[in-house]
């Protein structure tokens, strides 16, 4: 798949590094990989995916919505092109004309080379941000299809190593970053002491089950304190649970539906066990997609509790007057996590919160639902070989933020924040993405609490 190409631009004449690198997991033969991929692609072909794939007119407009295409100008990053093998499988396996295509030999099985080449396109260069889904004149939810295509890639053992590694770790340890029930408990206690906040853990009964992202637990532990502080101030009966603390879902991001289910079920089971009326999701984008919108479908029936992103919870609390905050005198730009805002529908919540905080909120150009992704979503931030590309698309994000000339940058997703941190370091950038939750927690009007 990599042809010999000379890099004439460089000072020293040398053979161009092949652009696509791919990883393999397991020791399946090529044929087995193809068979697995085809089967697990095909599994997704219900009416929804079929209508999407049959509606495409190859207009190419989705390219203009994709940060990878806009940043590089490389046509292979056209979102619908990333689905080419998936589409091919559809036409061969499940499309209305599939029997005809198979009979006439018009649509072949995908090849191992194709799958290998597309690993880069389905993982390294897609954050499943869903911007393309909004530009598509045919209304195709391309991002949803990418999620489906990853199912086949995972089963074929053809996903980036690092993503596989964290997903596997989440499967084995319960957390992608190696947080165990014990270490979680320790860190919760530590934060309780550190911030002098009453922490509830492993209560038998609670109205609210609070869950956290490993990224927060390991990297931004203040989020735990802030969450507790808010819930205490609200007078909620709430708890953390060591048998259901992890909000991230790397099964979903990597494309392993079994692991996705396993991860979601831990939270669902814990919530049911404590009789929770609500599961409070942390500042994490894809956790919202995984539980809020996919959770019930994994469970197979409506969930017996509400699911809220912490920004929604805060907005409700502030809007109803149950929670009061002090005025914060600075200008801020807010970065919408794709899965919460664009894909999740909670775009208004952070804006309500910012209004209550009295900050000078500078909306980014094409912010909110049309926001540029930070470039780290969909598991991309874990993939080392994707770094260079990720920095390229991050430049789009930086421009968008800089144009606001705000004092501070806020977000409500730990994964976005760590992507910002990485970009900040790489570019020696002036902005640090801060937590919206923590800003609220820091400015609570204590007398009302």
């Amino acid at each position: 798949m990599s042809t010999t190409e000379f890099d004439l631009e460089s000072k020293r004449l040398h053979i161009k590094e092949p652009e696509t690198r791919f990883d393999r997991q397991g020791d399946l033969t090529d044929d087995e990989r193809v068979t697995k991929a085809m089967a697990h692609f095909a599994k997704n072909f219900g009416t929804t995916a079929a209508a999407y794939l049959d509606a495409c007119v190859h207009c190419g407009m989705c390219a203009e919505a994709c940060h990878y295409y806009v940043a590089t100008g490389d046509p292979k990053y056209t979102p619908i092109w990333k689905l080419e093998p998936f589409k091919q499988a559809y036409k061969r396996e499940a499309g209305p004309l599939a029997p005809l295509f198979r009979m006439l030999g018009l649509k072949k099985k995908v090849t191992i080379e194709q799958l290998e080449e597309w690993q880069h396109l389905l993982y390294d260069s897609c954050t499943v941000c869903g911007r393309c889904s909004l530009i598509c004149p045919m209304g195709i939810d391309i991002a949803a299809l990418i999620g489906m295509a990853r199912h086949g890639m995972f089963k074929a053992g053809l996903i980036p190593h690092e993503l596989h590694a964290v997903a596997e770790r989440a499967h084995v340890d319960g957390s992608p970053l190696g947080v165990t029930p014990k270490s979680f408990e320790d860190r919760v206690e530590w934060m309780g002491d550190e911030h002098d906040v009453k922490m509830n853990i492993d209560q038998d009964q609670a109205d609210v089950l609070a869950v956290m992202s490993s990224i927060e637990i390991q990297k931004y532990p203040e989020a735990m304190a802030a969450t507790a502080k808010i819930l205490n101030a609200m007078g909620e009966s709430w708890t953390f649970r060591t048998d259901g603390f992890e909000a991230t879902n790397f099964g979903m991001m990597s494309g392993n539906t079994d692991w996705q289910k396993e991860t979601s079920m831990r939270i669902i089971d814990a919530a049911i066990k404590v009789g929770a009326k609500m599961v409070l999701l942390p500042e994490c984008g894809h956790a919202y997609m995984a539980l809020r919108w996919m959770g019930a479908n994994i469970y197979g029936k409506p969930l017996p509790f509400k699911v809220q992103h912490v920004s929604e919870y805060l907005a409700d609390a502030l809007n109803s007057g149950k929670l009061k905050v002090k005025n914060v005198d600075k200008s801020v730009a807010f970065h919408d996590p794709c899965q919460v805002s664009r894909r999740g529908g909670a775009t208004q919540a952070p804006r309500d919160i910012l209004k209550h905080l009295g900050v000078d909120h500078r909306e980014m150009e094409n912010g909110g639902d049309y926001n540029w992704c930070c470039g780290g979503g969909g598991g991309v931030v874990t993939i080392n070989r994707a770094n260079e590309l990720r920095y390229k698309v991050f430049e789009l994000k930086m421009e968008q933020v800089e144009a606001t000339e705000a004092d501070a940058l806020l977000s409500s997703c730990a994964n976005c924040r760590q992507t910002f941190d990485d970009g900040q370091e790489h570019f020696d950038w002036k902005y640090t993405a801060e937590s919206l939750l923590e800003l609220v927690a820091e400015n609570l009007e204590e007398d009302d609490a």
Partner: protein, 351 residues
């Protein structure tokens, strides 16, 4: 050709002046749709032309073509031409009957062997020779016997030219056209139901004037008369372009003389001279009288759907067939989906 006089000699003998002859020649040029500049050549040619012998055979026909020809006011230009041809056999027009008539036909064939013209109106039944006979002779036999020594054959009217109404579906007599049978002689088709009389005489004039056959289109029709569509020469054509149509026979558009396309006018696909030559000595033609063209000079005009169906409508078949196609489509869709579901299960098992 014996002692036959030239046309010039005939006219001279009748005391027709040269001016009169020139006037006649320019009328002939006009008839043949030749440019007026050719009048001197026509005059030259006609002066030298000799009376040809003509045998007219009538088969499965309604005599409308003969009526058309004879009802043109006489003596006219056409009359002059008929004066200058020798109509040796026409069983409707000739005085002789029975054996005498047949004898006249045989005599004409003998005397003018290789030079006479055969004019045919009516189609020829192949189903059963008894369907149409003359003097006990089947139409087929008479036609084949007569054309044997002919210089050319002119099929007059749509029946002779294309089978016409006798040949219309289901064609009970097995009627065929002259061209279907006569392969080794030139056959000129002068279709129409009936043809414009001036077109009939025009074809004869052409033969008379230049002694050769006119240029024909793919249906064997002289280009001079059948080179353009009624639609292209129709005075109502501007209404077509403007999108002004009569929707019914008694609406505003019909009263205003708008285009009859929507009422089924076959003008766009009909090649004939009606729109310019018109009928009844240039009085009018069907469209001018407010009726759409039936397309009578086209092959199979009787079977081309309804006279009042617009040219652009298609024969889209029956509702049943549509329903059948719809049911088949849904069934195939359901089958394809069922196959896809089964295959999803199967491949998952294999994987």
């Amino acid at each position: 050709m014996k002692d036959i006089l030239t046309l010039g000699e005939i006219l001279q003998a009748r005391g027709v002046s040269r001016r009169g002859f020139l006037k006649y020649c320019s009328a002939t040029a006009s008839l043949l749709a030749l440019p007026p500049a050719l009048v001197p050549q026509i005059a030259n040619a006609l002066e030298q032309a000799r009376r040809p012998s003509v045998i007219w055979l009538s088969f499965q026909e309604c005599t409308g073509c003969t009526e058309s020809l004879t009802r043109s006011s006489s003596p006219t230009v056409e009359g002059l031409i008929f004066d200058s041809i020798s109509l040796d056999y026409h069983h409707t027009l000739q005085a002789a009957a029975g054996e005498a008539a047949e004898a006249a036909r045989h005599a004409a064939m003998e005397e003018n062997k290789g030079n006479y013209l055969v004019l045919v109106d009516g189609s020829i039944p192949l189903g059963n020779p008894g369907y149409s006979t003359i003097a006990g002779m089947s139409n087929l036999d008479m036609l084949m016997e007569t054309v044997e020594g002919a210089a050319a054959v002119v099929a007059i009217g749509s029946c002779a030219a294309f089978g016409g109404i006798p040949g219309a579906n289901p064609n009970p007599t097995g009627a065929v056209s002259v061209r279907d049978l006569v392969k080794d002689k030139p056959v000129i088709n002068v279709p129409g139901c009936p043809p414009i009389p001036m077109v009939i005489t025009g074809v004869l004039a052409q033969f008379l004037t230049f002694g050769q056959l006119p240029e024909l289109d793919r249906h064997g029709r002289p280009m001079a008369f059948f080179g353009q569509t009624i639609h292209d020469r129709c005075y109502r054509r501007p209404f077509y372009e403007q999108g002004k149509f009569a929707e019914t026979f008694d609406d505003e558009g019909a009263r205003k003389g708008w285009c009859l396309f929507k009422l089924g006018c076959k003008g766009p696909i009909t090649y004939n001279a009606c729109a310019t030559m018109k009928w009844n000595d240039g009085t009018s033609f069907p469209i001018e009288a407010g009726h759409p063209c039936l397309g009578c000079s086209e092959p199979g005009f009787w079977d081309k759907g309804g006279f009042y169906n617009a040219v652009s409508t298609g024969d889209v078949g029956s509702g049943k067939a549509f329903a059948g196609a719809a049911v088949a489509g849904v069934a195939m869709g359901a089958a394809a989906a069922a196959m896809a579901r089964a295959r999803q299960k199967k491949t998952m098992k294999e994987a």
